[in-house]
């Protein structure tokens, strides 16, 4: 319990530091935050209106942060005057797209990583392992932007099937699975390739150790079929590190999603964030970054707590320490 409390305190501190950094960053080079919030070239009357709604914008940063935090916690996420839309509505409109993109990216990453990682560990140093090792090293060394360009050149512009670049739209899978696939496959693949490469290397290294452990030798000695030993006994111990990596990659995944959304479309929350940064739409930037931080940190805390569920030895160590 004490451990959980410590983790939660750390989570709150990280959240405060990140959101404060973002708030401070949006005020760099800005003489009049109220004008930025109102949308730049606007009349005095509109600025007065913004000032009436947010009277704290002239206060010191810490005070501004206090007001913002209070509003954020109570669910008053503010309003984008540039888009004349409330921030909560914006989330409802844009969030599903980004969530699906991230989800499919993780799924594709795992679909690549698990077979490749497991099989190359099983047949270590054979042809398959050699080829996939070189391949995954190459994929890790390919910047996300280059992967996106290659997908554009070799897939999107060759096949009419996929919507042309930047034209992908958000279609919910329950409305039309085919359209959903068309719109999400390429952007998700552009993220999934990198994830798959990282995870397959990780899984391979882990599985090589697992295959040499006593429990696997024991299982084999008991006459359990090699396939079952490989996919059940050995893979289970490697799930821990894979889980950690999934959580660790969350923030990189969102960073990649921003690029993928701007490049291919479905225009989700990342695309909206970039637009907000261009406009210096204060409240939108702060709300989106706050939500992203919560998502990333929660994923890490969740994995951390899952450790204890999966591995009783860690549970013991923690209750002792």
């Amino acid at each position: 319990m004490r451990y959980v409390a410590q983790r939660l305190l750390q989570f709150v501190l990280v959240f405060v530091v990140v959101t404060f950094m973002v708030l401070a960053a949006t005020r760099i080079g800005s003489i009049d935050p109220a004008r930025d919030l109102a949308g730049g070239a606007v009349t005095e009357a509109q600025i007065e209106q913004v000032k009436a709604a947010y009277p704290y914008l002239d206060d010191p940063l810490v005070v501004q942060y206090g007001y913002w935090l209070k509003d954020f916690v109570t669910g008053e996420w503010g309003r984008s005057y540039v888009q004349s839309q409330s921030v909560v509505d914006m989330f409802q409109q844009r969030m599903p797209s980004t969530a699906f993109l991230a989800f499919w990216a993780i799924v594709l990453g795992l679909l690549i990583a698990v077979p490749v990682g497991v099989y190359s560990a099983y047949r270590r140093d054979r042809a398959f392992d050699r080829v996939t090792s070189i391949g995954s090293f190459g994929a890790i060394s390919t910047p996300p932007l280059v992967i996106a360009v290659l997908l554009l050149f070799f897939i999107v512009s060759r096949y009419e099937f996929f919507p042309s670049v930047g034209r992908s739209l958000y279609v919910a899978p329950w409305d039309s699975p085919v359209e959903h696939f068309k719109n999400f496959f390429v952007p998700a693949l552009s993220l999934g390739i990198g994830l798959g490469a990282v995870w397959s290397r990780l899984l391979r290294a882990d599985m090589i150790l697992a295959l040499q452990s006593d429990s696997v030798i024991m299982a084999r000695a008991k006459g359990i079929s090699p396939r079952r030993v490989l996919w059940v006994h050995a893979l289970r111990t490697s799930i821990l590190s894979l889980m950690t990596s999934v959580a660790l990659q969350m923030s990189a995944l969102f960073g990649g999603a921003v690029v993928a959304e701007t490049f291919f479309g479905p225009r989700g929350i990342g695309d909206r964030l970039i637009f907000a940064i261009q406009q210096n739409d204060l409240l939108v930037i702060q709300a989106i970054t706050a939500i992203l931080t919560i998502a990333v940190v929660l994923a890490n805390v969740a994995v951390d707590l899952l450790y204890a569920v999966v591995d009783p030895r860690i549970r013991m160590a923690r209750s002792l320490g």
């Binding site: 390919t142 910047p143 932007l145 923030s251 690029v259 990333v296 860690i314």
Partner: protein, 312 residues
């Protein structure tokens, strides 16, 4: 989560029946060094080499991607008729300077912070750890875009600090500064972990019982053992930052247009990829080969000194 990973690592039975592996010739490393030397020579000598045109020089009749890759234009010409090869070379200069400078700053600050927090623990460790966790919990590219965008606004505003304006603050400087700050976080974490384990070693205890002062222990006993890690981090870090610069350029936060960086070239030309693949794919190729080279060298160094990349 690092603590948990550490506990998991100490508890998990690690039995390695290391099969003696055949020594493979370091082909990757050789390729990496060769490519980097070529690139660095090209960028340093670009102004003097007869076959490299100016970055903004546009020969008559070459605009609208008139030339494909060939004898006159090795990598073809771009929409404004500029030589793609020349721009790749000058782009390398900017991309590499940004990446290497920020990693250098990050290494100095990160090593200092990591060694201090790892050796002294206590409250300073807690405070620094919170900041490191915060920087790592947030997509770096978004923070970078935000700060570089605001730096642009700062440059155009007439805000003065101590009587000085910010007209000097070009995007290249802003990117370098942000990347430096962002690279401090992982480096601090890596060095801290290394220092933690090193400070428990016998020779540190021996030095202390011989009456060595703390600064001496840090500099003479611990620092030399951190250096191999730093070399590996240097190469991997440059690779990561080169990729990050490309992503940032795509989002519209790179060097100002007449200048060239690889990411900017990809961004400028990708809409015309069907008509003129060369203007987009050659910068991509340069970017890939350079990142690959840095990774190959970093990987080799890490393997040589048996460094776990867990913290990265």
């Amino acid at each position: 989560m690092t603590d948990a990973a550490a506990t998991a690592a100490t508890i998990a039975p690690v039995i390695v029946n290391e099969v003696p592996r055949r020594r493979r010739p370091p082909l990757g490393m050789a390729f990496g060094i060769l490519w980097l030397v070529t690139i660095i020579l090209l960028t340093v000598l670009a102004d003097f080499l007869p076959f490299v045109r100016g970055a903004t020089q546009a020969p008559r009749g070459a605009s609208n991607y008139a030339f494909g890759p060939g004898v006159d234009f090795w990598f073809g010409s771009d929409r404004l008729g500029r030589d793609v090869f020349a721009r790749c070379v000058y782009g390398a200069r900017i991309s590499l300077i940004i990446a290497v400078t920020s990693i250098a700053i990050g290494l100095v600050v990160g090593t200092a912070l990591g060694m201090l927090t790892g050796y002294f623990r206590g409250w300073i460790d807690r405070v620094v750890s919170i900041f490191v966790d915060s920087l790592l919990a947030f997509p770096a590219i978004i923070l970078a875009a935000l700060v570089v965008g605001r730096a642009g606004a700062l440059r155009e505003s007439d805000i003065q600090v101590l009587g000085l304006g910010f007209t000097w603050l070009s995007n290249a400087w802003a990117i370098t500064a942000v990347f430096a700050v962002l690279s401090v976080a992982p480096i601090t974490r890596i060095v801290r972990a290394q220092t933690l384990s090193l400070s428990q070693r016998e020779y540190v205890l021996a030095a202390r019982s011989l009456g060595a002062r703390t600064p001496r222990i840090l500099v003479r006993e611990i620092l030399p053992n951190v250096v191999p890690v730093l070399v590996s981090v240097l190469f991997t870090g440059v690779a990561i930052l080169l990729a990050a610069e490309a992503g940032l350029a795509f989002l519209g936060y790179s060097v100002e247009p007449p200048q060239a960086s690889w990411g900017l070239m990809v961004t400028e030309n990708r809409e015309f990829i069907d008509e003129a693949w060369w203007a987009t794919l050659f910068p991509c190729l340069m970017l890939f080969l350079t990142v690959l080279s840095f990774n190959l060298i970093g990987d080799r160094v890490a393997r040589k000194f048996d460094i776990r990349e867990a913290a990265l």
